[in-house]
């Protein structure tokens, strides 16, 4: 009977607090990850929205090509009109 009581005391004084402590640690860690994951999701979403303007690069590409063509035409004309330095 005495051993039984000792077992009861151990359960209540040692085992139960240790179990609660460990489980609470796991729960706190899991809850700490949640806001971080939400921030990551928000950042990824914002980054994706920032890239919505990427198709405009095609317009830029076309404009640059046309501009360089015009510059090349002017350069060719200047090459004919203006004398060389030497």
């Amino acid at each position: 009977m005495t051993l039984w009581w000792i077992g009861d005391v151990l359960l209540l004084v040692a085992v139960l607090p240790v179990v609660v402590y460990l489980l609470k640690g796991v729960l706190d860690a899991a809850r700490g990850i949640v806001p971080s994951v939400r921030r990551i999701a928000a950042a990824a979403d914002a980054g994706s929205r920032d890239l919505d303007a990427v198709p405009l690069l095609l317009t830029t590409q076309d404009q640059v090509r046309q501009t360089v063509e015009v510059v090349a035409n002017y350069g060719g004309s200047l090459d004919v009109i203006v004398d060389d330095a030497e």
């Binding site: 949640v34 990427v54 090349a72």
Partner: protein, 192 residues
């Protein structure tokens, strides 16, 4: 049942209740994490899909710009000579000549002449207007300073007096081109 047995049962029940509470709470938190990661993955997928064509487009843009730079640098050096070209660049963008021209490594060693003191102020003013272009936004002197009220007078004062006070008596500049009222004969070489 002895009292010790009852206490043990109560202790076990307490432990089980603690296990249930904390494990269920942990499961809920892990599910929230899973949902958040799903959202993050969708965002990352969007980033990957949208940025996929960027490399090719940017390379093409850079290629075209490189060709433009090559052309302009070559033309400037061909027409003005390397020394005067560096002087013109230094006059327009002070300090830029130290960087040299990309296709002319020797240009870094050229001591740029002070062309800004040789060419007229109007010539450099016209050239400096290019500083308003986005590509020249990083000019060491900052954005172009344009004197709206006095700029025209300053430019006019560069020319002889007759151009300022009696411009109406001056003959107009000849109109050239295929539609001009007076057609000039094309220039011929002496040996022809």
């Amino acid at each position: 049942m002895p009292a010790a047995g009852v206490v043990m049962i109560v202790a076990v029940v307490l432990i089980v209740l603690a296990l249930v509470y904390y494990l269920v709470s942990t499961i809920v938190a892990l599910r929230q994490i899973t949902a958040g990661l799903d959202e993050a993955i969708e965002g990352v997928k969007g980033i990957i899909e949208k940025s996929a064509p960027v490399e090719g487009v940017v390379k093409d843009i850079n290629g075209n710009l490189d060709a433009g730079v090559d052309l302009l640098e070559g033309l400037l050096v061909k027409k003005a000579g390397l020394t005067d070209a560096m002087g013109l660049i230094e006059g327009l963008y002070p300090g830029a000549a130290a960087d040299g021209l990309r296709n002319f490594p020797d240009s870094k060693e050229v001591k740029p002449p002070r062309i800004s003191e040789v060419y007229t102020k109007g010539t450099l003013t016209l050239a400096r207007l290019g500083r308003e272009a986005p590509i020249a936004a990083a000019s060491p002197n900052g954005p172009v300073l344009r004197n709206v009220e006095g700029g025209s007078l300053d430019a006019r004062e560069l020319y002889p007096e007759i151009r300022q006070k009696r411009p109406e008596r001056m003959p107009r500049s000849p109109v050239i081109g295929t539609d001009s009222p007076v057609q000039y004969e094309p220039a011929t070489k002496e040996d022809e």
